[in-house]
């Protein structure tokens, strides 16, 4: 029996590796990671990136924080830096699926679809599929105008019940100017987390870009109910209320990509 003493069993009561722990008052990696996640869920990617870095200062072996750093760099539009950083992380964690996927995402944003596809393939071949890998697969398909992107994002949503998955899928669609699909994902995020002001803001952006001005105003108002001082929502709302009829909006409505 002594041979089996060291075997690891799932302990359902114990906190997960990245869940904040009750204890101590000391700010450990779990504290910083939780802070980063909160900022990310509020759409504050710059702050989230800083907190992920703080997490890694405490514990460098947290591969989730490395992945999240690259994801934040991509969100902030710093793609060459994201590639550099994912390569560095891959030196420490070779063939890590999410790191490969993050590099694929950065390559995709830079227009290098060939590398992006092969990296995405490689990430999905690793053991243990994650929502992020499927999101990146979906993004590569969206960017290359293939038709199975919906399936990939659906698969990501099945793998994780976190509202951030459909929300970041919506952000991916917004980046590729597929606002109708983005709207569907933003609604899915709101179904999971109706009190997320960032999800309402994202939905409002999709509606605004699709030319659905009234719906966008309502979404921004919901966002401001939950976060009264949100500067972007305030600004967009006032712009929408002041703007009248415009040719640009009509064209947007007519030619929005499905």
């Amino acid at each position: 029996v002594a041979r089996f003493d060291k075997l690891e069993w799932d302990d359902e009561d114990a906190p997960g590796p990245l869940e904040p722990r009750e204890s101590s008052g000391e700010k450990d990696e779990h504290h910083w990671f939780a802070m980063a996640e909160k900022q990310r869920r509020d759409g504050l990617h710059e702050n989230a990136l800083r907190f992920y870095s703080r997490t890694l200062e405490v514990n460098r072996s947290l591969v989730e924080a490395w992945v999240a750093q690259v994801q934040m760099l991509v969100m902030l539009g710093e793609y060459p830096q994201a590639i550099t950083w994912s390569q560095k992380a891959l030196e420490l964690f070779p063939s890590h699926g999410d790191l490969l996927a993050s590099q694929a995402q950065a390559n995709c944003r830079l227009g290098d679809f060939k590398s992006a596809s092969s990296l995405s393939d490689a990430s999905l071949k690793q053991r243990g599929e994650t929502a992020y890998q499927w999101q990146v697969r979906g993004e590569v398909m969206t960017a290359t105008r293939q038709k199975n992107d919906r399936h990939c994002f659906d698969r990501a949503q099945i793998l994780s019940q976190d509202f951030l998955v459909p929300l970041e899928s919506a952000l991916i669609y917004i980046y590729h100017r597929a606002f109708v699909k983005a709207q569907q994902r933003a609604r899915a995020a709101l179904d999971r987390q109706p009190d997320s002001h960032f999800a309402w803001l994202t939905l409002g952006r999709c509606q605004e870009e699709s030319g659905m001005t009234d719906a966008a105003i309502q979404s921004y108002e919901h966002c401001l109910e939950m976060h009264p001082n949100h500067s972007e929502a305030t600004q967009r709302l006032s712009q929408l209320r002041q703007s009248g009829w415009s040719v640009k909006q009509v064209f947007r409505r007519l030619f929005t990509r499905e």
């Binding site: 200062e57 539009g77 060459p80 950083w85 030196e91 964690f93 063939s95 290098d112």
Partner: protein, 317 residues
């Protein structure tokens, strides 16, 4: 294995915690972060394309690489260049179309894109230095694209020089010379070298040389030589008026016009023109006797119908 730095299964580092390295990611410079996202993305993509190209050449002899690419291109077309049928010669009229048709889409896109940009700039800024430069570059670019498509079948330097010269002469002689002659008949740009009435110095006007100068239209005409006396810096001087001027046609041949100086009957084959700018003295100290002038129809260069520069004053006249 105890003491091992790497995981035996996945090769991940087992000493990450004890390694000394920065965990703060590199960031884009402030200048780049201030750029709007589409501009930033365009910048990144161009930079990446260049670095990829340099990376592909790194460690190789540039001459060898270019030679190899050239031989690959030549073998692909069996030494016959990109022109394989008589109809392909017609495609050369549009830069990049031949390359596009024979599988070199990127090359074709670049050729057409650059040509389109130069054409656009050449048309918008016609009559100005930048427009002329763009038109010149456009012709040169077209010649370069044609040479690119044709010369692959030729090996020697002398052959290539001949092909280049032949292409240049053929394009200019068959396309650009006839085209520019035809276009300049209906759209000849002129640039004003002095302010005249509502027109400012440097304005570019477009003249139609074949339109009939009807009453009410602005025309460009050859001014009959006229001399006026006056003083200039307290010295007696003679002002001589000649060259091309702009005026509005007041009356046609045989028409009778009453003006403040009296009654005028316009002779046959002539028109009465009111000079643009009227009696405004062109040189201080001189008085222009009358803004009206009778001009032979043969002296009219054409009708002025468009002002294209400055762009914010683009108007039909």
């Amino acid at each position: 294995m105890p003491g091992s730095q790497l995981c035996a299964r996945c090769r991940a580092s087992l000493a990450v915690q004890s390694m000394a390295f920065d965990v703060n990611p590199p960031r884009a410079s402030d200048a780049v972060r201030r750029l709007p996202m589409p501009v930033r993305q365009f910048w990144y993509r161009q930079r990446m394309a260049v670095s990829r190209m340099i990376g592909s050449l790194r460690g190789e002899n540039l001459v060898e690489v270019l030679t190899r690419r050239r031989s690959i291109a030549r073998s692909r077309t069996d030494g016959a260049g990109l022109i394989s049928s008589p109809g392909d010669w017609l495609l050369l009229a549009v830069p990049g179309l031949v390359q596009w048709r024979y599988g070199e889409q990127t090359r074709g896109k670049i050729a057409m894109g650059v040509f389109a940009v130069l054409l656009f700039v050449g048309v918008i800024f016609t009559g100005q230095a930048i427009g002329s430069a763009a038109q010149g570059l456009m012709v040169a670019w077209h010649i370069a694209c044609t040479v690119d498509a044709v010369q692959r079948a030729f090996d020697g330097l002398r052959d290539r020089i001949v092909v280049t010269l032949f292409s240049a002469v053929a394009l200019v002689g068959l396309i650009y010379w006839p085209l520019s002659s035809a276009v300049s008949r209906v759209a000849m740009p002129i640039s004003l070298n002095m302010p005249l009435g509502d027109f400012n110095q440097g304005d570019v006007l477009i003249v139609n040389q074949i339109a009939n100068p009807t009453v009410g239209r602005l025309v460009l005409y050859d001014q009959p030589v006229a001399q006026f006396t006056g003083t200039y810096r307290n010295l007696n001087a003679v002002y001589r008026q000649e060259g091309q001027w702009i005026g509005r046609v007041i009356a046609g041949p045989g028409q009778e016009v009453t003006i403040s100086e009296g009654k005028v009957i316009v002779p046959a084959d002539c028109v009465l023109i009111e000079r643009v700018g009227g009696q405004t003295p062109i040189v201080e100290g001189f008085e222009m006797p009358s803004p009206f002038v009778i001009v032979r129809k043969s002296s009219i260069v054409g009708t002025v119908y468009l002002r294209t520069h400055p762009l914010h004053r683009f108007t039909s006249l």
